[in-house]
Symmetry: C2
Subunit: 142 residues, 2 copies
DNA sequence: CGCCGAACGTTAGCCGGTGAATGATTAGCC
DNA sequence: GGCTAATCATTCACCGGCTAACGTTCGGCG
């Protein structure tokens, strides 16, 4: 069991578990916050656009949007100019989650990296970015 | 979108995608390799033991074991002494995957960290371990 | 103008993961 | 010895993610 893969995977799982627990207090599930983040920035985007921005497939967005619509966080509306398109619009409830959820995420980041000095934090990001680039290249070509 | 959380999440997703693609060549799905790794080390363990070792819930093991049994990688047998227990035993097919899968994983680790010097690799592990510990503490207490 | 292909959202089915409820079996205590 | 409580595995329903198949709607070309 290679060291980096194991450690990276474990860390990711723990982080996801914490994020999930905190999102649950706002009635959200893991991943839905990313979708919301995009809509907070700009309303009325299409599932395809959102999927591309999140590096996720369209069905993932559609299913999530259906659940979030049922939860009253957003509404679906067809585009009048191009009837193939569907646009997602936030409700007041969806908009209201912005501040607390963004704050939660900032706090989580701060708590996780609290044990690192400024130089260490910077270095961690630098090294992780290297690995990420290697992964992206392997995924594309290798 | 905090820097570390975002970068770490992206990296994990890319790594998982690569691992999934490579496991698929052996007829495995993501996560099944971890279960196999435990059984390669020691056969005849119970779902509960495996779940605890992998830090996963028991239903996850049960479902995976069902699929892997259907794929001919392992067999289920009830313990004769304690009839509540179920023990998972590898088939020859399951054992045969050991070398290629372990080799794949070692190679993936090497490829991902190829761009790092020895000092950098060590430092990355050290810093990531710090974050992991912080996450574990948050998960337990905070 | 009509057809045919491209673009798009949706659905269905699978996978790993979770929590909650079920059922069987053992262990412990009176 | 018998009843109760703890311990297992299993099942069900849900979530995010994926691929593949489907149906609609628009665009371009003859």
């Amino acid at each position: 069991m290679p060291e980096f893969l194991d450690l990276h995977g474990r860390t990711n799982k723990a982080v996801r578990a914490i994020a999930d627990a905190r999102l649950r207090r706002h009635g959200l599930h893991l991943g839905q916050d990313h979708l919301l983040a995009l809509l907070w920035e700009q309303d009325g985007r299409t599932p395809g656009e959102l999927a591309a921005a999140l590096d996720v497939t369209t069905p993932t967005i559609v299913k999530g949007a259906t659940r979030m619509a049922a939860a009253g966080l957003l509404t679906r509306r067809r585009d009048q100019q191009d009837n193939r398109l569907v646009r997602l619009w936030l409700t007041d409830a969806g908009r209201a989650l912005r501040k607390p959820v963004e704050e939660d995420r900032r706090r989580l980041e701060a708590e996780l990296t609290a044990g690192l000095g400024d130089g260490e934090r910077e270095q961690l990001l630098r090294l992780l970015a290297k690995v990420h680039q290697a992964a992206a290249e392997l995924l594309a070509g290798g």
